[in-house]
Structures are given as structure tokens and as C-alpha cells.
């Protein structure tokens, strides 16, 4: 019974993947494509795999449970990775201060909930707005003056900015972790798997944000401008696109997603501290590279893949492998397909 269900689900997943690739127009470089469907496909694929594991009932549930955790963690990585990848697509810069924007988002959310007593949804919006502002400021102050500087100089500036924000964070917020007030206590059980309300909310909000991003990048004027600039900056200028403004809006949107990730993480792991951006920032960067940097759907795939792998490794090997897996995957992908899962090794000829 179970294997039949497993094979059916696997079949559905494969059909979905084929469909996705059939409409390659939307999946290729620099287009947002079907970003939002990726998480759904992931769930289907995992379910399918799970039912194929015809071992002990308990093992199956354990596997599924770990995957659920992995997907919610992965969607947070995906949200952060989107910012890396979008900024890279536009200015060919790895914005290492991006993890700190995520941290600022968490703090903004924290103060919105505690000091201002805002409802969670409003706090989420506030965190996103604050993060967007911070991202745009970082771009203005640190990167804009270096627009035509060598890339190494910009890279070092980005690392410097990251350290600066961490330290300013320590000074302003204090280095003692703060505890984000519990928001959602609900706990559901489906087929023996624990689904806590906060993880469901993380997943839903991520999904909604990705849908919104997909719409924005594909169908709105600023979204089109963004894609145009990433494909050919000079040509974009010749269309009348204000490149500086497009760069700002890219930073704003990427940071907004990181800000959302910050507050979303805090509802599951309530300890927030000024250095919290370091590891997730690096891992999201890894996720972006695994998926193919500069490619929006790639960030989502990379993030989910990383999140799930981390949790499974922790569950089946040991938690000390948790961080190693991310960088292990990075090394493997750099050796096997440096342009990432969705990347192309050759640029198209003109």
C-alpha cells in the first residue's frame, strides 16, 4: 500500500518537474520563473521518498519529522539566499553584510513586538521595512561610492560592513541574547508528525513572499528593469532605465526578504543576538551558490536543499556535521558544476 502511494507521488513530482522545465522560458537565468512552486515540489518529492522507505513505521515518521524541520529551516535560508542572488545579479557583488540585515530584521521585529506591542503581522511588516531601509543605506554608504572600483575592493568593503554592523549591533542592542516572545503555541499532529504552528507559519509566509516576488520580477515595471539591468546594464540604460534606482530597489527587496527571515526564525528559535546573522548569512550564500548565483529560482532550490540536508545529517549522523554539510555541499558543487544547479556553464553566444 505504502510503496504504491510512494510511487504515485514520485510520479506526480517528476511530472511537475518536467512541466517546470518545459516552460524553461521562465526558469532560465535571471528570470524569477516558478520560484514559488519549488517549495511545493520539494514537499511532494519528500513525501514520495518517504513512502518509498518501507522500513519501520517509526523510522518513516522520524524521517518525515526531520524533513519538516528541514523545510522550514530551508525556507528561511531560501529567503536570505534570494537577497544574495538578486544583488549579485544586478551588481555582481556578494553582499556579505546581508546576514546582518537579517539580524537587524530580527531585532526590528523584536522591538516591534515588545516595545511597540504590535501584532505579529504588523511586526513582520515593520521588520521588513526596517531591513529594507538598512539594506538601501548600506548600499548608499558602502557600495555606491565603489561602483567602478575593482571587485576585490568592494568585496573587502562588504566584509567590513558585515563586521561593522555586528559590532554596532553589540553596542546598541547589547551582546546578551534577547528572547523573542512566543507567538504561536499551536501544535498539530498529522499522521504521527508534529507540525507546530510556527513552522507552518514560516512556510506559509515564505511561500507568499515568493509568490509576490515572482509576480514582481516578472510582471512589474521595476521588476523588469531589474532583469534588464542584470542582463545588460548598458542596454538597460539605453531603454531609459535608471540604473541607480534599480540597484536601490534590488537592495530594498533583497533586504526585505532577509528581514522577514529574521523575524520568522525568531518565532521558532527565540534567542536573538547581534551575531546571529553570521552563520545563516554564510549558509544562505552557500545555498545561493548551490542553486546558481544570480538565478532566482536557484536560491530557493539551494535553500531548501541545504535546510533539509542539514536536518537529515543532524538526525542520522550527528549534530556536529550540521555545519560541515553546508560547506561540503559547496565544495562538491564547485567541483562538479561551479555555475550551480540551475546555472549554465557556457554563456549564450550572441
Amino acid at each position: 500500500m505504502l510503496p504504491v502511494l510512494g510511487f504515485t507521488l514520485l510520479g506526480v513530482t517528476i511530472v511537475l518537474i518536467v512541466l517546470l522545465f518545459k516552460f524553461k522560458v521562465q526558469l532560465t537565468l535571471h528570470t524569477a520563473g516558478q520560484i514559488a512552486y519549488t517549495p511545493l515540489m520539494f514537499i511532494l518529492a519528500v513525501l514520495a521518498l518517504n513512502y518509498l522507505l518501507v522500513g519501520l513505521e517509526a523510522d518513516r515518521i522520524y524521517f518525515l519529522q526531520q524533513t519538516v524541520y528541514g523545510i522550514s529551516l530551508g525556507s528561511v535560508y531560501a529567503l536570505i539566499a534570494l537577497g544574495y542572488t538578486m544583488v549579485y545579479g544586478i551588481v555582481r557583488l556578494i553582499n556579505f553584510a546581508h546576514g546582518e540585515i537579517y539580524m537587524l530584521g530580527a531585532y526590528a521585529g523584536f522591538f516591534a513586538v515588545t516595545s511597540m506591542g504590535l501584532h505579529f503581522v504588523l511586526a513582520l511588516i515593520f521588520a521588513m521595512a526596517a531591513a529594507a531601509l538598512a539594506g538601501v543605506l548600506v548600499e548608499r554608504i558602502a557600495y555606491k561610492p565603489l561602483r567602478n572600483a575593482p571587485r576585490l575592493a568592494v568585496l573587502i568593503t562588504a566584509i567590513g560592513m558585515s563586521l561593522l554592523l555586528q559590532n554596532v549591533g553589540q553596542k546598541v542592542f547589547g551582546s546578551i541574547p534577547r528572547s523573542f516572545p512566543r507567538q504561536f503555541d499551536g501544535l498539530y499532529q498529522i499522521g504521527g508528525i508534529n507540525l507546530d504552528q510556527s513552522r507552518i507559519i514560516i512556510f506559509l509566509i515564505t511561500f507568499l513572499l515568493m509568490l509576490a516576488l515572482q509576480y514582481f520580477v516578472n510582471y512589474t515595471k521595476p521588476g523588469r528593469a531589474m532583469r534588464a539591468v542584470s542582463q545588460d546594464r548598458d542596454a538597460a540604460q539605453l531603454m531609459g532605465i535608471n540604473v541607480e534606482r534599480t540597484i536601490s530597489s534590488t537592495f530594498a527587496i533583497g533586504s526585505m526578504l532577509a528581514g522577514a527571515a529574521g523575524i520568522l526564525v525568531a518565532i521558532v528559535f527565540p534567542q536573538i543576538r547581534p551575531t546571529m546573522g553570521l552563520m545563516p548569512g554564510l549558509k544562505a550564500f552557500v545555498a545561493a551558490v548551490i542553486g546558481g548565483i544570480g538565478i532566482i529560482p536557484g536560491a530557493v532550490i539551494g535553500g531548501l536543499l541545504l535546510g533539509v540536508s542539514e536536518n537529515l545529517v543532524t538526525a542520522y549522523l550527528s549534530s556536529s556535521w550540521r555545519d560541515a554539510i553546508a560547506f561540503g555541499m559547496l565544495i562538491v558543487i564547485l567541483l562538479v558544476k561551479p555555475s550551480g544547479i540551475l546555472g549554465r556553464n557556457v554563456r549564450e553566444k550572441v
Partner: protein, 234 residues
């Protein structure tokens, strides 16, 4: 309509334009010819502000645009179709055309213009959903020109539209340029194909290592012995 005086441009240590002056009257086709590296593209890119001028002045429709930002120049409907097509490879043909109309707000007219350019280039209509990067070189050139027209230009700067095209396509492109001009768009045409360029132009300039060495009505230039030997292969 467009008047350039004593324009100098440097790329680091390279002095690419050394005091170029030229003007284009409304309704005309003006050709700018010259060998590789003469500075033709530099001249167009400086007009579009992609490259900053070191000194000199560019006046368009009575406004000094020498220091304007590229996007505000496009808003005044001075449009360039750049060398090497530069279509957006990961956008469909349809989307590329929409990018051409990026600064326009008159939606209904944009739609009408879209029909107009697709009639002008039926081949693009057949490929509306195709990614521009997968078009052939000639098709990309058509798309680049079509995209330029979508901006509803007052003046269209064309940088080597015939480059790398088969002779029959060159003919087609040139007759389209003439058609665009007949519909009221002024044209500044950069070409290596001096013969063709002069045959459709009212006036011509010859650029040599950053300087205008010769200018005059196109028919006179085409008859000029120096030009004939240097550029027309006669």
C-alpha cells in the same frame, strides 16, 4: 536638432575623440562613417551619456544634454540602437519590445506601435515568445531596431545596423531605416558600409582617429575621390 561642438572624450589615457563637431537637422538622415577604431561608437555613446565627455557640448532640441543621465536622455526621446544589438538575451522578443517602450506611458499608442513594428518585421511576429538570446544574428538586429522604434524616437542613433548581415538582409535593413525616416524620425547612422550609408543619407561625416576629416552632402562625399579609394573600395 542635434548639435555637437568640439567634443573630446578620453578612456583613461586614450584620447578617443579629439574635438568632434557635427550637427543633424530634423528629418534628415546623417551618416557617420570611418574605419575601425575611428571613434564612431564612442561618439554615439557620448551622446547617450554612457561615456562621459571630457569637454565640449551636446545640444539636443535646444537643451544641453552633455551632463544629463542616460535615462533622462532617453526620456527626451533620443534613442540609440547600440553596436552588437545588445538585446536582452533572457527575455522573449515580446518582452524586449516592451523594454523599448519602458519610458512611455501612452499605453494605447504603445500597443499600436507594437503592431506597426511587428508588421515591419514579420519575422519577429513569428518569434514573439522566443528568447531573444536564441535568435539568429540578423533577427537580433531586427529586434534591436524594432525595440528602438518602440521608444518612439525623435532621433534614432543606429550603430552599424548592417554588421555581420547577409547582403539581402542589409538591403532590407536599409529600406526599413528609410521607412522609419519617412515616417518622421531623424536618423544618425554609423556605418562601415560607407556605400550603403551614403546612398540613403542627406549628409555625411567622415571620422578618422577621433577627428572629423571630411563632411558634406552625401552625394558629394560618395563622389569624392579620397572617400572612394579609402572607404568605397574604388
Amino acid at each position: 536638432m542635434l548639435k555637437i561642438t568640439d567634443l573630446h572624450v578620453h578612456y583613461g589615457g586614450i584620447h578617443a575623440l579629439k574635438g568632434v563637431s557635427l550637427s543633424v537637422e530634423e528629418g534628415q538622415i546623417v551618416s557617420l562613417i570611418g574605419a575601425n577604431g575611428a571613434g564612431k561608437s564612442t561618439c554615439l555613446n557620448t551622446i547617450s551619456s554612457l561615456v562621459p565627455a571630457s569637454s565640449g557640448q551636446i545640444i539636443f532640441m535646444e537643451n544641453d544634454i552633455t551632463k544629463s543621465a542616460p535615462h533622462s536622455i532617453v526620456k527626451s526621446r533620443l534613442i540609440q540602437v547600440p553596436e552588437g544589438r545588445k538585446v536582452f538575451p533572457q527575455m522573449s522578443v515580446a518582452e524586449n519590445l516592451e523594454m523599448g517602450a519602458y519610458v512611455r506611458t501612452d499605453k494605447r499608442e504603445v500597443k499600436a506601435d507594437r503592431e506597426r513594428v511587428l508588421n515591419m518585421f514579420p519575422r519577429l511576429r513569428e518569434r514573439e515568445r522566443q528568447l531573444a538570446g536564441t535568435l539568429s544574428g540578423g533577427e537580433q538586429q531586427m529586434l534591436a531596431i524594432a525595440r528602438g522604434i518602440m521608444a518612439k524616437p525623435r532621433i534614432l542613433l543606429l550603430d552599424e545596423p548592417s554588421m555581420g548581415l547577409a547582403p539581402i538582409l542589409v538591403q532590407e535593413i536599409f529600406s526599413i531605416i528609410r521607412e522609419i525616416n519617412a515616417q518622421g524620425t531623424t536618423i544618425l547612422l554609423v556605418e562601415q558600409n560607407a556605400h550603403m550609408a551614403l546612398s540613403i543619407a542627406n549628409y555625411g561625416y567622415v571620422l578618422e582617429t577621433g577627428r572629423v576629416v571630411l563632411e558634406g552632402p552625401a552625394t558629394e562625399l560618395a563622389a569624392n575621390d579620397e572617400i572612394r579609394s579609402a572607404y568605397l573600395g574604388a
